[in-house]
Symmetry: D3
Subunit: 288 residues, 6 copies
């Protein structure tokens, strides 16, 4: 088992499906009616240029776009997902029929810009958290793009929380009406043995309850860094091995370091998916 440094790509079947829908969406029933003005035999050679500092993601999607529009278009990447790139960097080169390249351009870039935006924002949170805590995504993702955004989070150095409601048990306040944390965890272990059980807590007493009940992860909901630190101390004092502490809710680039300092293991935020601004990436035609 080597030290694989490249982040794990999204599943190929998901890429295939999402790209197919994106192409259908952009081509429409007639195809690229402007490209049709250009003669069929004109060739294009284009650089994929990043126009702002960031982290690259989405290259498998972009490759798939060109391949589905025209299998004869050649795409070569100089940088891979997860690479930190500077404004002006040429991260890839595309060569092929002019019509095919310009027809694919926007769809390929839409994947690259959004997913690199996710990776870039993630990497900023990761840098702010340092080595002490991991940055996690949430289920607050854009409809239809979750698997791709989760891969982009990995490209940015973050890790993935639940990918779906099937993944693990995450008991929030609402799930507890008429029940205790202890009985909820017991029921979770009974229904879904072996699955991770996480308990959302609002205050220290609940943290103790959750640890005692055997939760695998304790999520501190919307706590300030100092409150979180107190809970972290409680967790340490409990002596429970393999317990993870997570904070979630309202975390910003400014506050993320304080949470990491507080001894939290996992910091989850929707800012890296549903509010990540696009990274500006473009196709520059070099010669024809």
């Amino acid at each position: 088992m080597s030290d694989a440094s490249r982040p794990i790509d999204p599943p190929r079947d998901v890429v295939r499906d999402v790209v197919a829908r994106a192409i259908a969406e952009d081509l429409g029933p007639l195809g690229d009616i402007t490209a049709a003005l250009v003669a069929e035999d004109v060739r294009a050679l284009a650089d994929v240029v990043v126009r702002a500092d960031g982290v690259l993601a989405g290259t498998v999607c972009a490759t798939e776009v060109f391949a589905q529009v025209d299998p004869t278009v050649d795409v070569e990447w100089r940088q891979h997902d997860g690479a930190h790139v500077a404004a002006g960097a040429v991260v890839g080169v595309v060569a092929g029929s002019f019509r095919s390249v310009v027809t694919s351009e926007r769809t390929a870039l839409n994947f690259l810009c959004h997913l690199s935006g996710v990776a870039t924002t993630t990497s900023r949170f990761v840098a702010a958290a340092g080595e002490r805590a991991r940055i996690l995504d949430t289920r607050k993702t854009l409809p239809g793009l979750r698997a791709l955004e989760k891969a982009a989070v990995r490209a940015g150095g973050g890790a993935n929380h639940r990918a779906s409601l099937s993944d693990m048990v995450l008991v929030k306040d609402n799930h507890l009406v008429g029940s205790s944390i202890a009985s909820a965890v017991a029921r979770a272990h009974e229904l879904w043995p072996g699955r991770t059980v996480e308990i959302e807590c609002d205050r220290p007493e609940q943290v103790i309850e959750a640890i005692d009940a055997g939760a695998d992860i304790v999520m501190l909901d919307n706590m300030a860094p100092d409150e979180a630190a107190k809970c972290a101390a409680i967790a340490r004092d409990s002596g429970r091995s393999h317990l993870l502490l997570e904070v979630s809710g309202g975390i910003t680039l400014e506050t993320v370091g304080a949470y990491a300092d507080a001894g939290i293991d996992l910091i989850s935020t929707s800012a890296i998916t549903q509010s990540a601004p696009a990274l500006d990436i473009a196709l520059d035609m070099r010669v024809r």
Copy 2:
């Protein structure tokens, strides 16, 4: 024909398909394994609360999420797409099986938060442009969500540029190698009679050329407001009726007013779709 003030919803079939995929993505193969901890007969009543000032969009998607997860869940909207809402406003109420409501919650909110984010950002550009110019979207949208984002732009008071490459002819610099603007417009009229023809121009001489060639829209690419104003004067002086002037490229909330002042008709920006931060909207359980 009355003065229909509500924006036009996205096509029902698109909503149905995108929602179905989003639900499949979030439920996974087992469904909501946490909701399963709660007894089947528990009921939920929840408010849809906007937590920040903004413009609402995506209500038809949210309604469809609940309906597909459980047709017996009842959703009522107090505000409709396009409504300007203040932080704290209850825009809708959801009632039904607790399991169904919490299972649907995240997917419904993912639509609402993203699309209301698009509408909100759009409305800010619209406010900055005033009555003088229209704010338009672009094809820089998130893969698979274009039709929904374009509806959200309308909800925010903006209008739609091309929805796909089939819609209109938009000749950019790259399309002109070995050809003149005049011959490109002529070829467009020949191939696609009746379709709108837009020409992207970098400098005033090209604007003249485009107008003379019979372009319907002249797009000023990455021009400063004062350059744009010069081109607007050229357009006015040409005497061509039904000609529209568009600016695109690097426009911000700060500069959009200057372009509107410059006499531009249409201002298009990707900031309102691919970089719009989510509007914070949540489900607050009232009683059970």
Copy 3:
């Protein structure tokens, strides 16, 4: 920009999907149970023969059928979409496994025969209209085949009207109840800036109204050629540049020339799509 003489193919993704459904439809759950009688290693070499004069269309679909059924089947076209071919002409050659060729045969021919039928009928209207007017299709197409039929119309020398309801604004009589042409055009410009606006007119006064309102295309509905000529004169006298005049409704091969003579720009007819008889094309096995 060269003088590209080949018509624009339908989008590849549409071809892929429609062909996949057509194959599923024809193969059924067991596949070709008759081909199964023939030994697996028998080879086929077959000519694609046109049995009546006409215009070829649908070759990309036919190629895709063979490729999806068996990627090792080799298809070579001697003629391309848009070619005028005489009865008896061999337009392509297919070589490969006998089983694969006969299994694909009918589905491939169903595309070729129907789409060449559309192209052929279109080319007859085009010939009758001469250089003076363009022949356009309509939205009266066969469900699921629109993009392919529109490509076949282009192959026959015609051009495409709206591909969908999203494309342009076309105000008919029914849309005007309680409204004037002027207010409808104004509303269209407000809702959909930059989109082509077409107004259907029954009589000369409406034509004047539509031109004054700023319509881009005036459609004369079910008018006789002489009435159409009067409206054409009105349009010319208006001095409006870039205005197009279209006739639609009950146009036949016999009357199309008269409309072209009347100074009409665009002649649209459903006869070229939903009532075009198939062109007889067959596969002739040469050797095995």
Copy 4:
């Protein structure tokens, strides 16, 4: 078992899928941008009027179109599939939101016009054949529409030949290279016991061979009526019970009667599917 006079509808799942694709194709990403000009609360009441004599088909498809676009639109049919209707007849009434009705109109009519065209052409062949022979369709159908066209053939009084290659064994000339009719039939019985086996024959000797081999149906390929009559005599003389004789190839409304007179059981023709002209059916708005 009563004498069910209504033809059998196409399977509901096929109708649902084909209609969903047709709607997506016609609405596009923005929906009906012209209907958007009309206020949301305007109501429509429209007659479905047949403008030429013919046989109605496709009503379940039309109903499904309206239901998928807007479940609140009400559709009532005065005539059902298979009804012979005269020009001017009102065969159904549609009531509901004006926007929904006009948005659905073209797609609903595209189904009705094409399928009624198929039913009408079929009924003409049926009338010409009289009681003596049945009119059958073929696999020469329009891609994606086979199940619907086969239902329309039944509505027109015809019957269905193979719906797919999985249905029955139909041995043509090409399948026989290196084999005899007898061995082909034997192999078919071995591979697919219980399936109908049909043999295509070019000359009388083959007919004898096919009957002796135990074929269930003998297809006379491209034979003139008098040749067909000779083969019919051979078949009668053979004394084989439950043997059916079919003719196929180049049959027209003019010649179909002669084949029926010749003692043929089944007459199959592609003219009723892939070359059937649309029946003119329209929606007439009555009041609003």
Copy 5:
């Protein structure tokens, strides 16, 4: 026509679709998160080993699984569908990226194990029936897998009964309320000329009725072998050529021979599809 000994594969399009869904089901949104622990450049070479005596089936599905997960994985089969293999036999070899091979492993094996289980159980019934009668499947198949299971039945030496309700007419007791066998057969011939008509019979008198009515197949429902033998005698005495006798209901490996001895042509059983235990097949990693 050679003596093709290999069974007919399922249609390629069905294989493609079912495999795509199976992969999506097994990979989930993140892909193989365990394979991700292994470095990207590790290679695998693995034997496909059968761990129990049986008949192989499903190789085209397994090949397709590897191809869809990673087109660079190489799969070679030493045995083909229909081969009788002994425990321990290496039937194929897989080589490629370690990650891709282990990611594909379970899905590929799920097809192989189930379909080989179907083929193996079929082959046992076939052996027990001997040369005298054919073993047929039924429509009692696992949802979504029918075409594949029917191919596996063929691989096991069995043959296929109806693949769908569209295939042939099979009149059961329930269909006869208010009707006679004779009128049901007559109606079937009228509605569906040329289609096989089968009549389910509970007692000898019905067999006579069915033969007289012209049924192509008589199915003896839940009859003991001696009763079936009486019906077979009736059928022989009728002198009807091309009549097939089928038994169905409660047939086991123990009783199947007695039915074959009774002179029955076709023996159908659901035991070979919906209750066939999986054949144990595994992937053994040889070297890396």
Copy 6:
């Protein structure tokens, strides 16, 4: 949180999709050509009867089949998924159009028979294991049916192991080449923080290694009950809380009790999914 005794249903969207495909598969292009012999207005009332002792599962699928074929068919269940039912029990009643009921019958029963077979086999393992250990499924499921089979396992009293490769980390022998258990667990924690990590062990030393490394579940691969008991003692002695011990491989109804006695927490077996024989369930027409 009440003591919800009903097992959790599979996700509604999965049911919808799998049922739609199953219906398409069984109806074919023409629909039920035998039901067409019966008059349209005949009604059916039918009991769903279980013909052998077992556990019911799949009722939501059966309900969905009838609803998709004909929404007017009424289905009422007297027993729900998870109910232990005796041979002869009427578990539900179906009422509606005769044609619709017989057309839906086989597809509805195929779901019921297979899924009840899975639940029944599971319940036998559960009974044999007693209260001491949980019975778990595996990923050895039938392609396309996993979510439904996992729900049926729950109905039978079992629990679910991984639903997909995305769910948890399960390190097998093959994943460890060139790596240690400790480094694999560390890497898993790094890549997928919070996810369950399971280690497959062949011998006691590995069990110690896995526990020390912090594995959440230790899987004993193909161990005899006495070996498993030794490992269980090791685990107890380790003092690790929240550690689960699983056995897998070659477990039968005869041996399952011995494993439970050995102090194992989880017993997983593919016998309950891919080799579960169908439970015999039928539709008995009561009156018409």
